[in-house]
Amino acid sequence: MSIVAIFVNVLLFLLLAPLFEGVMRRITARVQSRQGPPIVQPYYDLFKLLGKERINSAGNWAFKLAPLAALASILAVVSLVPFGSRVNALGGRVDAITVVYLLTLGGVSVLLGALASRNTFAAIGASREMVTMVMVEPVLAMTLILGAVRTHSLGLGPAVFSTAGAGFSLSTGVMLVAYLLALQAFVAKQPFDIPEAEIEILEGPFIEYSGPDYGMFRIYMMMKQMFYAWLFVAVFIPIGRTGLYPLNILLQLLGTLVVFVVIALVGSTNPRLRIDQAVKIYAVLILIALGAVGLAVAGV
């Protein structure tokens, strides 16, 4: 069963990530008094992209490798996570740090693609992406470390389900605030969609990408969004622990959906910040996250 769970993870993430994206687009449209695209539009978009000709506009291998590496890293992440509160065959063999590494690898792949494309706008996007990665990933790491401290285990299951395992505490509350504030940056939505910033740097790192390569990046982005939204539910809202695996999955997916609604609402009611303004906010978030870990160490 625990091997089946790996496939359940990967399949559900692959299949549902575009759906959540579609929900988000629909909500954004409603906030903007628009009809909005069909909820399944992201699937159409992906099929269209995947069916196009593959063009290596930079002419080097790194440019072609980057989207594959990004997609591979996020697939690896979702295959590990204890989705539906079940630690699967892979998840039992790794710890929380692995997840952080793999997520960073995804970001690095984006950087690789951006730098390989040798485009000025991609280069600006890459530098912004790098800053964002350095400043925001610590919040994710701290969230898992907090779990590890509170459950005295770096194992993926305990670290993720710390609230369920060790109960809700002040440190969890503080971390919840930090995570919520960082959420828009994790999923690269306003006000923190700075690395892509369409109007300034034309989608930054992805400017040279088209067709299947861009499609893979899109899947990567959507799955990453879904992962971060799911992680919030898994860590802070201990639902989906009924003992019945399919029901657990369903409950967690519903929680994820709610998080996506929040992301869409915040995203559609904020302008984009500048990177220098965002960095100041990220710094505060890191401090809050550190404080939460400190509280957890002190046992609060």
Partner: protein, 563 residues
């Protein structure tokens, strides 16, 4: 002593015999003919007397008396006067002193006539090509009468615009010729250090349509308003009214009061439309698409209104020399009033949401700063100037149409940044609504809307006309001609002066703010580019040939990049 007398005395006292003629056809205009020797000094004196540089006009008089004419125009806003400084030089030696060192805003006007008429300006700080395509052959000056309007010189492949030297330690980010924050093809080479802007060079004038040349050679007086409307998709009525007023003044054609009221109504509807459109775009430029969509939803009502009155959502086709083409009936009037009430409510919601949003404050306050002194030095106009503490508004300063009868406020703030521009434009929406209500109430009950114009208008009369477009003052200069069309028609849209100051506003800002800093002037490149003559079709190629642009549009087999 009134302003005209004061200026006359000042100029005569200082330049004496160099002043060849002075005439004042109306209390609001002063035409001064000056010897070219005294051009720079007299221009400088006009600025010192409180003048604001508007635009330069060059014209070809070779067939008539072997000279090239040059005109600089100045507005004395507080005195409600415009001064026209005319001079000329023999075509064999068309050299003038550049006034750009004293008046930076004259830079483009002078470069324009260097390109188009072959004038030379001694002492110009940046005498680069401005308008003509880079492969346009030397020695063909398209605005001269001997050059046919449809001349197509052969294209050349190996010429390129040379960008200004980048400051040391900076990299060049090419914004344009095609970039999402520009809605028209233009090229800004932005020199950045990290993300901080250290300089900028501009190569524009890529949307060549040759409108001025076309109207001086091919069409007749009353066809020009329709062409003028097509200079710009947003402020078409402004250009049509401005042109019609210039011709009416030059030829002494009186127009009916009712027509003036209808023009006022159309101009204000256009302003409502433009302000809402800009607000939406400003939101989009800072990544706030909800503002974009909501502002444009409200704007839709204005377009509905325009369609109700004129049959067109934009490009109304209302204005002719002598009046307007359609009347406003009592039914339409009540529909306009009903629409204004809904509009006011919706805009109020929008205003409260935008003005109170601290996230918008963060992206606009202190951004694109340019001091009041610099705003005067660069002769800024419109909301960009009013955001910098300058109380400039052609509707008040140089009243035209029915604005003399209207009571309204000119919102002025002194934050000197993008935020100020935003506040000014949002507040002006309410003033526009107030003006529309007054105009509807005060409009003469009936009367003709169009004065028939005589078969032939008196030739070689000069007139300048100013209209406050939503983005600032538009200036049209007309010299009447002998062939039922203007001999010379010069259009200056508000973007022309404002765009010249953008490099100064960009300096030391973040690259992320580039779109909104440029966006705050609401640049209308098509307005600015109206003048250049038939394009050889190679515009973008040469600019894209630059090394830093190669990354943008690479071809698989490594050939030259093209747009």
């Amino acid at each position: 002593m009134d302003a005209i007398a004061r200026i006359e005395t000042g100029l005569k006292g200082r330049f004496g015999a160099d002043i060849k003629g002075l005439s004042s056809p109306s209390p609001a205009r002063l035409f001064v003919d000056v010897d070219r020797r005294a051009l720079r000094a007299s221009s400088k004196m006009l600025i010192e007397l409180g003048g604001r540089y508007m635009v330069g006009i060059g014209y070809d008089e070779i067939a008539r008396n072997g000279t090239l004419g040059l005109i600089h125009t100045f507005a004395f806003d507080a005195d409600h006067v415009a001064v026209v400084l005319r001079t000329s030089a023999p075509a064999s030696d068309p050299t003038f002193d550049s006034i750009t060192p004293d008046i930076p805003n004259a830079g483009w006007s002078e470069r324009e006539y260097q390109d188009l008429l072959g004038m030379k300006f001694t002492g110009h700080p940046k005498p680069k090509r401005l308008i003509l395509a880079d492969d346009w052959p030397d020695g063909i000056y398209p605005l001269r009468k001997e050059v046919p309007y449809n001349l197509e010189p052969p294209a050349a492949e190996d010429v390129a615009y040379r960008l200004d030297e980048a400051p040391p330690g900076t990299t060049i980010v090419p914004v344009g010729p095609f970039h999402v924050s520009l809605h028209e093809p233009e090229h800004f080479a932005v020199y950045v250090d990290g993300e901080t802007i250290k300089g900028c060079d501009y190569r524009g004038f890529m949307t060549h349509r040759g409108i001025e040349k076309l109207c001086q050679t091919q069409v007749s007086y009353n066809e020009v308003p329709f062409v003028a409307e097509r200079i710009c998709g947003i402020c078409g009525s402004v250009h049509a009214v401005c042109y019609a007023q210039a011709v009416e003044t030059a030829a002494g054609i009186p127009i009916s009061r009712r027509a003036e009221y209808i023009r006022t109504i159309m101009l204000e509807i256009e302003r409502l439309h433009s302000h809402l459109l800009w607000l939406g775009i400003a939101g989009h430029l800072i990544g706030f698409d909800t503002v974009f969509m909501q502002a444009w939803r409200v704007r839709e009502k204005v377009m509905w209104l325009a369609e109700r009155i004129t049959g067109n959502r934009k490009t109304y086709g209302m204005v002719l020399i002598g009046g307007v083409r359609r009347d406003i009936t009592p039914e339409i009037r009540s529909e306009i009033e009903g629409m204004l009430a809904t509009l006011e409510k919706e805009v109020m919601v929008l205003k409260n949401a935008v003005i109170g949003d601290s996230a918008i404050h963060r992206r606009t306050k202190g951004v694109g700063f340019l001091s009041k002194e610099d705003a005067i030095r660069w002769s800024l106009v419109g909301p960009v100037a009013r955001a910098r503490g300058l109380r400039l508004d052609a509707r008040k300063d140089h009243p035209y149409a029915a604005y003399g009868d209207m009571t309204f406020d000119v919102p002025v703030v002194d934050s000197c940044d993008v935020w100020g521009t935003l506040v000014v434009r949002v507040l002006e929406i309410f003033e526009s609504i107030a003006i529309l209500r007054q105009a509807l109430a005060g409009m003469p009950a009936d009367g003709p809307i169009l004065t028939a114009i005589p078969e032939a208008l008196p030739p070689l009369r000069h007139a300048v006309s100013m209209v406050e477009a939503p983005r600032g003052e538009s200036v049209h200069y007309v010299i009447t001609g002998e062939e039922n069309r203007p001999e010379r028609w010069r259009v200056r849209a508000p973007t022309y002066p404002n765009l010249q100051a953008v490099p100064a506003m960009l300096l030391d800002n973040q690259f992320a703010d580039f779109p909104i800093i440029l966006g705050q002037i609401d640049p209308c490149f098509s307005c600015t580019d109206r003048v250049a003559v038939v394009d050889a079709g190679t515009g973008a190629k040469r600019v894209l040939g630059r090394a830093e642009l190669e990354g943008m549009s690479r071809k698989p087999e490594g050939g030259g990049s093209r747009s």
